[in-house]
């Protein structure tokens, strides 16, 4: 039953589309169609252009980043306003650290966008189309990461910069050093964008938007909450580590306003998150490469 019957005769010659010049035909055998569209090997740049079109053409990008900018500006300025009205002493804490609260809230938006960048493709089925067009999982993942990272880094850095300038103008604190400025703008921008990349990697692993966002929020909040309830003396060291390495505390360290005196300080939080994100990204790549879509 499975014996193939004699194949029907192939058409004698392909009918050339009249409007196309004959050089479009690249010596295809009889019956083979050759497209008149020139073949130009695409690369990572083309994948990045494609991902940029994707990220700018959905509402969720505008919503998440818009809300983040509003949070950063709103909470940052509100904090500065409250401090300026209360006549509280500012000389103990650096002025720029008032931006911390807005960034902590705003990072949730970046987490959401990071997860959505890849998990929404699984939710909608777009991933099948994407990977049909770009079968290289590595190229797709790198293109998504580059576009998302540059976008969230730029928005965060610019907004934290604006908030910092406004806060220093409103309050008479000590003048922040150039390193303070760099850490609380570029440093925070890098940290938040890296946190977003971690979310993107988790989105690629979990393939479910709500699940990955929930896990990421837990990653941000849970260590701190857990540490608060570790009253037992035997757990003191665990408690200390959880405090030191919790994401809010790491963000605070970039502002020189961490809750702990030990643990990462200065630029160190960036190296920590870089390491974690690199591991997650490697996992995301292996998962994309091995698993069925």
């Amino acid at each position: 039953m499975t014996t193939p019957a004699t194949p029907p005769p192939l058409p004698q010659a392909p009918r050339a589309p009249h409007q196309h010049p004959p050089q479009g035909w690249e010596g295809g055998g009889p019956g083979l169609y050759a497209s008149p569209i020139p073949v130009r090997t695409p690369g990572l740049g083309d994948a990045i252009a494609s991902e940029w079109t994707k990220i700018r053409s959905v509402r969720s990008t505008m919503w998440t980043l818009g809300v983040m900018v509003v949070l950063l500006l709103g909470v940052g300025l509100l904090a500065a306003f409250a401090v300026s009205k209360s006549d509280a002493e500012m000389d103990g804490t650096p002025v720029l650290s008032l931006g911390f609260f807005g960034v902590l809230l705003g990072s949730i938006c970046v987490i959401t966008l990071g997860v959505l960048t890849i998990a929404s493709e699984y939710g909608t089925g777009m991933i099948r189309t994407t990977l049909t067009a770009c079968p290289s999982r590595a190229r797709m993942l790198i293109a998504k990461s580059v576009v998302f990272f540059l976008l969230s880094f730029t928005i965060t850095t610019v907004t934290t910069g604006v908030v910092g300038v406004l806060q220093t103008a409103m309050l008479d604190g000590g003048t922040p050093s150039a390193d303070d400025w760099l850490r609380s703008t570029v440093g925070v921008g890098l940290y938040v964008a890296m946190l977003g990349l971690l979310s993107l990697a988790l989105g690629a692993l979990i393939r479910h938007s709500a699940g990955a966002i929930t896990i990421m929020i837990a990653v941000v909040l849970l260590p701190l909450v857990l540490a608060m309830f570790m009253f037992s003396q035997s757990l003191a060291r665990v408690q200390q580590a959880l405090f030191e390495y919790s994401i809010p505390n790491q963000l605070g360290a970039l502002y020189d306003a961490s809750m702990t005196t030990s643990g990462p300080s200065g630029w160190e939080p960036l190296w920590v998150i870089l390491g974690v994100t690199a591991v997650a990204m490697a996992g995301a790549f292996v998962s994309l490469d091995r698993r069925d879509v």
Partner: protein, 334 residues
């Protein structure tokens, strides 16, 4: 040209595709047939490197899918209408695909025009009807003007005008010399479009043949006779050693004789006939016979104890049964 070589896919204990080997040749429409759950979509997904085969391989123009530098220019696929981001406009959905393969943006407007979606190019695709979604998926498949086109149940959700359109589109694409591979469970539709058939059941290749040969090999041709003197006709046939099967409505069906022989036979016995016609099973019946056989053949491995569907003219029973009714349900009661 697509070549499948011993392609196998296992999901746990369930074998979805079982050592499937065949070639899909250019210049014609190849129909890919099988009941729901036969492994058609899984096979297509493995062709596109979306699912990893458990064994065997797929070659597209001699290459593995991941080796294709600009896949959209080799192969365009419509897997299902829901493979787009609904929050994105039709134009942007296609633009991002075009960019990833260095296809000029002018092609996007061109293919939207081809499928008749130019007027809604700026609209979000989640507002599209099923038929419009199918057209958008077909536009995506045509984007790179590929040599191979693969459509998974393309007429789903299309109105009669749309069905007519896609039928002609597939024929026109095949006559350009392209390889057209189309899956469907609408047998009547296949009869009108496909030149060649690949039939699978439970992941196994059941037939790889031309449309005409498929019908020839798998359908029963018989002669139908109807007479007001049916008892006398039966007795006469019986005594002449001709096997006649009563088919209801006072008709008899005879396999092993021609209309000429039977007409002369009746005239010789002086029996009045109201009908004497040669009948041939349709493609649908041929397909039903073939896949019903496969279900019966594999009944022992059928864990849910599903009854083999009755072979008969009730087209659609099998689908109803396989579409998820409880095992053991009378298919006619659905």
């Amino acid at each position: 040209m697509i070549e499948l070589d011993g392609l196998t896919k296992r999901f746990g204990n369930k074998v979805a595709v079982d050592h499937l080997s065949c070639r899909i040749r250019p210049g014609m429409v190849t129909g890919f047939l099988g009941p729901n759950g036969a492994g058609k979509s899984t096979t297509m997904r493995m062709m596109l490197d979306l699912d990893n085969p458990t064994g065997g391989s797929v070659r597209i123009d001699g290459k593995h899918y991941r080796e294709l530098q600009e896949p959209l220019k080799h192969i365009g696929a419509l897997l299902d209408a829901k493979s787009m981001h609904g929050g994105r406009s039709a134009y942007n959905n296609l633009l991002c695909l075009a960019q990833s393969n260095r296809i000029p943006a002018s092609r996007v407007s061109h293919v939207l025009d081809t499928v008749g979606l130019s007027a809604v190019a700026g609209k979000k695709s989640k507002g599209f009807s099923l038929g419009m979604g199918q057209r958008l998926g077909i536009a995506a498949a045509l984007l790179g003007d590929p040599e191979i086109l693969m459509f998974d149940e393309p007429v789903n959700g299309l109105d009669p005008e749309g069905i007519h359109w896609i039928r002609n589109l597939m024929k026109a694409l095949a006559s350009d010399g392209r390889t057209i591979f189309v899956s469907s469970h609408l047998m009547s539709e296949m009869a009108l479009t496909a030149d060649h058939l690949i039939v699978i059941g439970q992941g196994r290749l059941l037939a790889d043949t031309s449309m005409a040969d498929f019908i020839q090999e798998n359908s029963r041709s018989y002669v139908r006779m109807r007479s007001p003197e049916q008892e006398r006709l039966r007795d006469a046939l019986h005594s002449a050693g001709i096997v006649a099967v009563e088919a209801g409505n006072g008709t008899l069906e005879i396999d092993a004789a021609t209309t000429e022989q039977l007409g002369e036979f009746a005239a010789g016995h002086g029996i009045v006939l109201h009908e004497l016609s040669s009948q041939r099973a349709s493609l649908e019946e041929a397909f039903m016979q073939m896949t019903a056989g496969s279900v019966e053949y594999h009944a022992h491995s059928d864990s849910d104890g599903r009854q083999p569907p009755p072979v008969g003219p009730h087209w659609g029973d099998q689908w109803n049964q396989q579409a998820g009714t409880a095992p053991g349900d009378d298919p006619k009661g659905v």
